[in-house]
Structures are given as structure tokens and as C-alpha cells.
């Protein structure tokens, strides 16, 4: 492999002059705002000399205000860019204007999965595949589903879905499925494993998340951009959140649709060639990625050290260090993802992200990073550390309010008022400007009534996000403290659909503590003074209402009926999305088996179905067993047959399903056993199995392959 370090000015790398000017503009504005706020607070606090609590308050305030200013200027610069008459000279889309030539580069589309909803993953792959086929460039793309699933049922379901989808699409040799026996280093290890095995075959790799969706046209355009801009190492799209059904999900996707483009334009402005990689919906130049972006473990053990969890930021920094630009592609349509449906699921995801970002603390001072890569790490750490800082800020404010000193100078009072209004402006002005921009330009919706509903939606989302923010602050603070205390996080599959929302018990158990905190804090605030109670009431109301808020946010009453929080994707779904919804709806209509059988459907298939058993054994790597291990497997298999799958531990089930000889013989042993030798589960399964599915492989997928078995079984 040749040296990956390109000359500094290869196309795609923003010219240094422009990049520096933009960065200087952004950071000067942000730092000036921070300085102004800090100065006003200093005047206010130092009126009667400094107390330790006031010094601490100021120290907490500075990073918080920096963060606030950063968001403010990012949004305003974004709105300015959106309305600027002339084109952005750094716009990558310009480099492929009028280019419809055939692509010569080969690209792998990889989908790492871990115990995900099998139907969603494979139906998503289907619509992406079909969308690519429509572009006429499908021959240059291969698909890889890279599984680390450790639930046996999921594993079998993935295998059957792979086979069936390949059969329906005629895509053997285009869509590949690979399951790792041991999920070493989680997602980044999964991707590295792909790179080591097949990376040399491809020039680019497009990384999907399990819930990602991309249009073929966008993927082809991304490949063309990479071809025209050899200085770009990673090209990240802006994935829009779609397909939400709960209030929280729809709120997030509405906010992202309305405010997201301006923020993305702003971030793109100041990040330039040192943007971040978000782990999915991005295209990567494989040669430098393989050579330069392998992740070493961090010093010490988890939670701060060990395997790098949030690998994407680090890979972006390594790519930039290797001399390649990491760029954000301004995308309005074509790149989609799904989000967590409830507040509890959001917090679970945030806990994982929090640990990943906190780990980056190690990397802040590492050698050789580009300055902006350091800033990206710093912003990532700050995004979570800001929560405990805010919490401490509020506690100190309470203490200072309870032990007041006289602020009788007019200058001090004016400084306090000015700081208050400045802060209100920093929080709300970006939203106001973006909504006004929408009112005047109709960027999202052309018809006036819809624009007005966007205004109503924006007011409603402001209220709800104001209620949510303190709850998030409390939990993020706890996450940070727990991580510092050495409590890591486990790797859990992300929940992406509501599946019944949040029940009261779960909400009370999760948010009961914060409600209690709200009660106590309210009493203290009331005791301090009524003025202080009013000042801190937005925080306390949020604490007090946390339980009902979690219920409401997780409910399916999402305002859709009233036209609230509409997004362009809901009104006019892109083809990939509408096709996916149709296919998922078709799968939902399939026959449901008894719950016990349904829960172990994959296991039942691999043991009973001759074709699924054959598929599984064919895909397994054959290993030579020792006498001891054969005896152990035999013993588990006996219990499996006589007592049913529920009698075995997950690792025992995994052991027998991972062994070719055992799994092949299980099939015949089960069918050979008399009724009295079988666990009730297997008796029922044998009776039900042939009734359950018309085809062993279509249970989890829509039937778009003109399968005639179903019609024949109807007469059977």
C-alpha cells in the first residue's frame, strides 16, 4: 500500500486561508460573548468582595457560557449562510455539478448490527439496494451485514433474513452476511474486522447504523464527490431523524428538521476540513482508514480507559492527522436515521455516549492532533461535563441566595439585568431567527398554513425542551459522576421503536428520585425567598413534573392529528422511506405464534427446519471438539431436548448452536424423539411449526419475490 499522506492541497481540503478566517470569526465571536458574560457576572458577584462560592460559581459559569455562545453563533452563522446570495466556495456539491459519468470505484456498504430488530435491518437494506439499483450503478456497490449479535434467536433470524433477501433480490454475491464468534472491541472492532478481511477489495466504504437509510442517488453522489476530491478522507452526511411515532421522537425529528440545517451549515462553516465523523451515514476512503485509523486501547481500564467506545470522533481525528480532510456534506434529503422513542431510552443511549465522550479526555492532549480535532474532543467532553457544572451552578446559586449580600450599586444591578437578558437572548434568539427565516422563505414548507403550524410547533417544542433540559441535566450529571467513580456501561442494543411506551411504574422508578429532589429544593427556595423561587422555578417545575413528562413524551399521542411537529418527510415521504414503511406493514400482518414459540422462533427454526438447519451449519466454521467438550455439548443438548430452551443459560444455548455437529444432530434428535421424550416446548413447536410460516425464510421479511409456496400451502 502506498503512503496515504496526500499533498496538503489536494482537492477537497479547504484552503488554509479561508479555513482560518472562518474559524477565527467563529471563535472570536464565541469568546467575546463568553468574555462579556463572564465580565458582567464578575461585576455582579464581586460587588461586596469575593466569597469562595462566588468564585466557584464564576468558574462553573465560564465553560457553560462558552457552550451557550458556541451554539448561538453556530446557528446565526448558519442562517446567514443559508440566506447568502452567493454560493459557498467550499461547497462540495459544486465539484460534481453536471457529472453523470459512470463510477469506476468499488464501494462497500457495511451495516454493523448487534441484536437489532432483524426485520427493520433487512427491510432497510432492501430499500437501499433497490434505490441503488434505480441509479444504474448497483454493480459498483456490495453490501455487508456485520453481525455481533449474541442472542441466538437474533443470529438465526439474521441468517434466514440474509438468505431470503438474497433470494428475492437475486443478490447472492452482492449482499454478504458475516457473524463474529467473539465481538471483540464492539462496533469499532466489527468494522476493523471487515477492513482487515475485505477492505482491500474496495476504495470506499459507506457505514450504516442498524437504523440508517440512504437513497441510492445520494450514495452515488457521495462516491462521485470522493472521486473528485481525493483530499477528503471521510464525508459525513446529515442524517435526518425519521419514522418516529412517539411525542418525543416526533418532537426531536421536528426540531432537527427545522433547526438542524442552520446548525449544520454553521458547524460546516467553522469546522471546515476538520469536521467530525458520527459513526454512520458517511463514506470513508478505505486505504488511509485501514492504514491510519486503527484504534489502540486507552491506558488504564474502563470506564475512562480501555477500549475506545466513541470511536468515530477518534477515527476522524486520526484521518485528519493522516492529512485527509473530514468534511460535512450539506444534505437535505437522502440520509436518514431513527431515534430513541422515549425519555428513558434517550437516557440509556446518552449514558453510553457520555462514557465514550468522557474517555476522550485522554486524547485532548495527545500528540499530533490538529487543533480542531482537539476542539472536537473538548466540545464532546464539555457536552456532558456541562451538566454537572450547571447543577453545581444551581446549587451555588441557591446557597448565595440564602446568604445574600447587599447589591445596592446601580451598576451592579444593571450588570445583573444585562446578564439575564443577554442569556435569554443567547438561548432563544437562534430559534426565533430560524423560525422567522422559515416564515419568510418557506424552506421546509411552501403553503402558509404549514409555515404557521411550524411556528406553533416551535413554541410547543420550546416549552417541552425547557421542561426536559433540567431532567437531562440531572441524569447527565449522575452519568458523569458514576463514570468518574468507575462504573462503566454495558453494551446494550438500542431501542428504536416505542413498543408500548413508558408505563407509570417504570417512570416512577426512574424519575421518582428527581421529583423528590424537586420537592425538597422547592421548599428550600421558598424558604430563601419568593423572588428566588420564581427565578429557579423553570428548573424545579421540570423536576416536579418529570414522571408525567416521561409518560407524555413516550406516548403515541404525538400531535400528528392536529398537524403539529410535521416534517417534510412525513408529508412527502421519500421513496426509500415509504417503501420501507409498506414492507414493515406487510410483515406485521403475518401469523403470530404462541408467545413462548415466538420468543424462541430463531432457535425453533434452526432445530426443526431442515433448510434453516442446513443454512446455519453451512455458515458455521467447523471446529474439532475435544472429548471433554463433546461430552459437555452432549449433556446440554440432552437438557435442551428434554427440558426446552428456557432451561438453558444463554451461553449454553450459544455453545450448542455454535457447534456444527451438535446443531446438525439436534435436528434429527428432535424429530426422532417420541412425545414423552420431548419438553412441552418442542411438542408444541413440532405441531405448530408447519402452520406458522408458508416459507421458512419469509417469517421476518416482506414477500416481494413472487414466492409461490404461500399459495400452495393455502391449499395444503
Amino acid at each position: 500500500m502506498s503512503s496515504p499522506v496526500p499533498p496538503p492541497m489536494l482537492p477537497g481540503m479547504p484552503p488554509q486561508g479561508i479555513a482560518r478566517a472562518r474559524r477565527a470569526t467563529f471563535f472570536v465571536l464565541t469568546l467575546l460573548g463568553t468574555l462579556l458574560g463572564s465580565w458582567l457576572l464578575t461585576i455582579y458577584l464581586s460587588a461586596s468582595g469575593w466569597r469562595w462560592a462566588e468564585v466557584l460559581l464564576l468558574l462553573c459559569f465560564i465553560p457553560l457560557y462558552y457552550q451557550l455562545n458556541g451554539g448561538f453563533w453556530t446557528a446565526l452563522i448558519g442562517v446567514w449562510l443559508q440566506n447568502r446570495p452567493e454560493d459557498d466556495p467550499l461547497d462540495l456539491w459544486k465539484t460534481i455539478e453536471g457529472d453523470d459519468s459512470a463510477i469506476s470505484a468499488s464501494t462497500a456498504i457495511i451495516i454493523p448490527v448487534y441484536n437489532e430488530d432483524v426485520t427493520r435491518v433487512w427491510e432497510g437494506l432492501r430499500v437501499t439496494y433497490e434505490s441503488l439499483a434505480k441509479t444504474g450503478q448497483l454493480e459498483h456497490y456490495d453490501f455487508y451485514v456485520l453481525s455481533d449479535s449474541d442472542q441466538t434467536n437474533k443470529w438465526i433470524e439474521e441468517q434466514t433474513a440474509w438468505l431470503e433477501l438474497c433470494r428475492q433480490l437475486g443478490a447472492f454475491g452482492k449482499i454478504f452476511y458475516r457473524k463474529r464468534r467473539k465481538p471483540i472491541n464492539r462496533k469499532s472492532g466489527n468494522v476493523s474486522d471487515f477492513c482487515r478481511r475485505w477492505g482491500k477489495r474496495y476504495r470506499y466504504m459507506i457505514v450504516f447504523d442498524a437504523d440508517s437509510l440512504m437513497s441510492g442517488a445520494l450514495m452515488v453522489a457521495m462516491t462521485r464527490i470522493m472521486e473528485k476530491n481525493p483530499g477528503v478522507g471521510i464525508l459525513q452526511t446529515f442524517p435526518k431523524q425519521v419514522a418516529s411515532e412517539t411525542l418525543l421522537g416526533r418532537l426531536m425529528q421536528f426540531a432537527q428538521a427545522l433547526y438542524g440545517p442552520a446548525f449544520m451549515a454553521g458547524i460546516n462553516y467553522w469546522q471546515g476540513g476538520e469536521a467530525n465523523f458520527w459513526g454512520h451515514n458517511a463514506i470513508i476512503r478505505l486505504e488511509p482508514f485501514i492504514k491510519e485509523c486503527a484504534l489502540p486501547p486507552l491506558p488504564k481500564t474502563v470506564p475512562f480507559g480501555g477500549h475506545i467506545l466513541s470511536h468515530d470522533f477518534v477515527e476522524a481525528a486520526l484521518m485528519r492527522k493522516a492529512g485527509y480532510a473530514v468534511r460535512l456534506l450539506n444534505t437535505i434529503r437522502g440520509s436518514y436515521e431513527e431515534g430513541p422513542p422515549t425519555l428513558i431510552d434517550t437516557l440509556k443511549r446518552d449514558r453510553r455516549w457520555c462514557q465514550g465522550n468522557m474517555q476522550h479526555f485522554w486524547l485532548l492532549f495527545a500528540k499530533g492532533w490538529h487543533f480542531m480535532s482537539r476542539m472536537n474532543f473538548f466540545h464532546g467532553v464539555l457536552s456532558y461535563v456541562s451538566s454537572p457544572l450547571w447543577f453545581v451552578f444551581l446549587v451555588l446559586s441557591t446557597y448565595l441566595a440564602a446568604t445574600p449580600v447587599m447589591h445596592d450599586s446601580a451598576q451592579v444591578a444593571r450588570a445583573g439585568q444585562l446578564l439575564l437578558w443577554l442569556t435569554v437572548m443567547l438561548i432563544f434568539l437562534p430559534k426565533v431567527v430560524i423560525v422567522l427565516d422559515e416564515m419568510f422563505t418557506g424552506r421546509l414548507f411552501k403553503p402558509l398554513p404549514q409555515r404557521l403550524m411550524t411556528l406553533v410547533g416551535s413554541i410547543a417544542d420550546t416549552v417541552i425542551f425547557t421542561l426536559m433540559a433540567p431532567v437531562m441535566m440531572w441524569f447527565h450529571s449522575r452519568f458523569v459522576v458514576k463514570i468518574i467513580l468507575g462504573q462503566g456501561v454495558s453494551w446494550v442494543a438500542q431501542k428504536r421503536k416505542s413498543g408500548g411506551g413508558v408505563d407509570w411504574r417504570e417512570a416512577i422508578l426512574t424519575f421518582g428520585g428527581i421529583t423528590l429532589l424537586g420537592v425538597v429544593w422547592s421548599m428550600i427556595a421558598w424558604w430563601v425567598s419568593i423572588d428566588f423561587l420564581i427565578w429557579i422555578s423553570p428548573i424545579l417545575i421540570s423536576f416536579l413534573l418529570a414522571v408525567p413528562l416521561a409518560i407524555i413524551l413516550g406516548s403515541s399521542k404525538s400531535g400528528l392529528r392536529f398537524g403539529l411537529f410535521l416534517t417534510p418527510e412525513e408529508l412527502e415521504p421519500p421513496t426509500v422511506l415509504s417503501d420501507l414503511e409498506d414492507n414493515l406493514a406487510e410483515v406485521k400482518t403475518r401469523l403470530q405464534l404462541p408467545p413462548e414459540i415466538e420468543k424462541n422462533y430463531g432457535l425453533m427454526q434452526v432445530c426443526l427446519d431442515p433448510y434453516v438447519n442446513g443454512l446455519h451449519v453451512s455458515l458455521l466454521r467447523r471446529r474439532r471438539n475435544t472429548e471433554d467438550s463433546s461430552e459437555y455439548l452432549e449433556q446440554i443438548a440432552d437438557r435442551f431436548i428434554k427440558q426446552g430452551p428456557q432451561a438453558l443459560k444463554p451461553r449454553e444455548v450459544n455453545a450448542i448452536i455454535n457447534d456444527t455437529d451438535t446443531v446438525a444432530s439436534l435436528h434429527y434428535r428432535l424429530w426422532s424423539a417420541s412425545e414423552n421424550e420431548l419438553a412441552p416446548f418442542w411438542s408444541l413447536a413440532i405441531k405448530q411449526y408447519n402452520l406458522a410460516s408458508t416459507n421458512p425464510f419469509t417469517h421476518l421479511l416482506a414477500n416481494k419475490g413472487g414466492d409461490t409456496i404461500s399459495s400452495s400451502v393455502a391449499q395444503d
Binding site: 464581586s46 456490495d142 438468505l163 433470494r167 447472492f172 454475491g173 454478504f176 458475516r178 476493523s192 477492513c195 482487515r196 478481511r197 475485505w198 477492505g199 482491500k200 477489495r201 485501514i290 492504514k291 491510519e292 486503527a294 484504534l295 489502540p296 486501547p297 486507552l298 485522554w362 486524547l363 492532549f365 495527545a366 500528540k367 499530533g368 426443526l608 427446519d609 431442515p610 433448510y611 438447519n613 442446513g614 443454512l615 451449519v617 453451512s618 467447523r622 456444527t660 455437529d661 446438525a664 434429527y668 424429530w671 426422532s672 424423539a673 417420541s674 412425545e675 413440532i686 405441531k687 408447519n690 416459507n695 421458512p696 409461490t708 409456496i709 400452495s712 400451502v713 391449499q715 395444503d716
Partner: protein, 191 residues
């Protein structure tokens, strides 16, 4: 396969046991998605006939077990006759061969030739072989070796000094911050 013998009078085993074996075989062949009832009945009877002979030799084993064992043996013979020219172990033939039949659409297109090792149509055999030949992409192994990241804090100081030496603007920024701090301090003293 030998000519079908409708007469079924096993010398050993009870009627109940053979009924259970019949029901199990019916379910088993249905699991191959073999929806041609006539063929399925033929196969059940032939398998039972063979199972009855086996049971007479080994009566301690249940008829159901004999029946499935015979069905497996018939399957192995049949698949071996189709995949004999491919480089596969018996276990691979058994696993992949069944799958080949499914992928070739065998249960719909050639149900009457399922387990018929004497007269398999060449078209069916070729379709089954073709289905098994399709495999994943050949590995092209590349090295992806993690490199240590130097996390030393001293490097930051070094980088900063290097930068200060090279970048004039950085020196002015430091100077301006320093002046601002001094002015601020003086201001606070004079208030």
C-alpha cells in the same frame, strides 16, 4: 426408489407407535415445504416400510426414531448422488445440499423427484449444484494495526511553544489576554 408397496404390516411395534411415527414423518416432510400431497404420501409409506424392517432388527428403538433415521439416510443417499462431483465432505453435502434444493426452488419445481436418487432430472441437479456454488467474496486480507497514541501532557506544552515560535498571531493573542488581565486587575483595584 423401489416400487411403492401400499401394504404396511410391521412385524414389530404397536399400532400406536407406528401411528406416531406416521404423524411425525408427515410433519417432517411438510417441513421441507413439500406440498405435493401424493409425493409426500409416497415418501411417508416408503420411509415407514424401511423403518419397519429396521425396527424388526432393532426393536428397542422407537418406530419414530427409526422413521426419521431412515428419512435421513434416504436424504444422504439422494444428495450424494447429486453432489458427488463437488469437493464437499458428507456433512457439508448434507447441510448445503438441502439448502441447494430450497434455493433451486426444488420443492415447487420438482417435488416428484425429491429423494428420488434413481431419476433426478439433470436440470434439477444442475440448479441445486449452482445454488451451492454461489459463495461469499474471497478474502483479501489487509493489515489494520493500531498505533499507540502519545497521550503525554508535555507534548501539548511543546506544541504550544512551537506554535508560538512559528505563529505571530498567537503571540499577539497571548499578549492581548495578558494585557486584559492586568487592566482588569487594575480596574478592580481602582473601583
Amino acid at each position: 426408489m423401489e416400487a411403492l408397496n401400499i401394504q404396511f404390516a410391521p412385524a414389530t411395534g404397536t399400532e400406536e407407535e407406528w401411528n406416531e411415527a406416521y404423524a411425525r414423518l408427515a410433519d417432517y416432510f411438510r417441513s421441507y415445504r413439500l406440498h405435493n400431497r401424493i409425493r409426500r404420501t409416497q415418501l411417508i409409506l416408503e420411509t415407514l416400510r424401511r423403518a419397519a424392517l429396521a425396527h424388526a432388527r432393532e426393536p428397542q428403538k422407537k418406530p419414530t426414531a427409526h422413521a426419521i433415521e431412515q428419512a435421513r439416510a434416504m436424504m444422504q443417499h439422494w444428495l450424494r448422488s447429486i453432489y458427488s462431483d463437488m469437493q464437499m465432505t458428507p456433512a457439508q453435502i448434507e447441510a448445503s445440499g438441502k439448502l441447494g434444493f430450497y434455493l433451486a426452488g426444488g420443492s415447487e419445481r420438482w417435488p416428484q423427484f425429491f429423494l428420488d436418487e434413481n431419476n433426478p432430472p439433470e436440470e434439477m441437479a444442475e440448479a441445486m449444484r449452482l445454488a451451492v456454488r454461489t459463495s461469499g467474496p474471497r478474502l483479501q486480507v489487509s493489515k489494520m494495526t493500531p498505533r499507540d497514541i502519545d497521550l503525554g501532557l508535555t507534548e501539548v506544552a511543546e506544541n504550544t511553544f512551537d506554535r508560538l515560535a512559528k505563529e505571530q498571531w498567537a503571540r499577539y493573542v497571548i499578549l492581548a489576554v495578558f494585557v486584559l488581565l492586568v487592566v482588569g486587575y487594575v480596574y478592580s483595584l481602582l473601583r
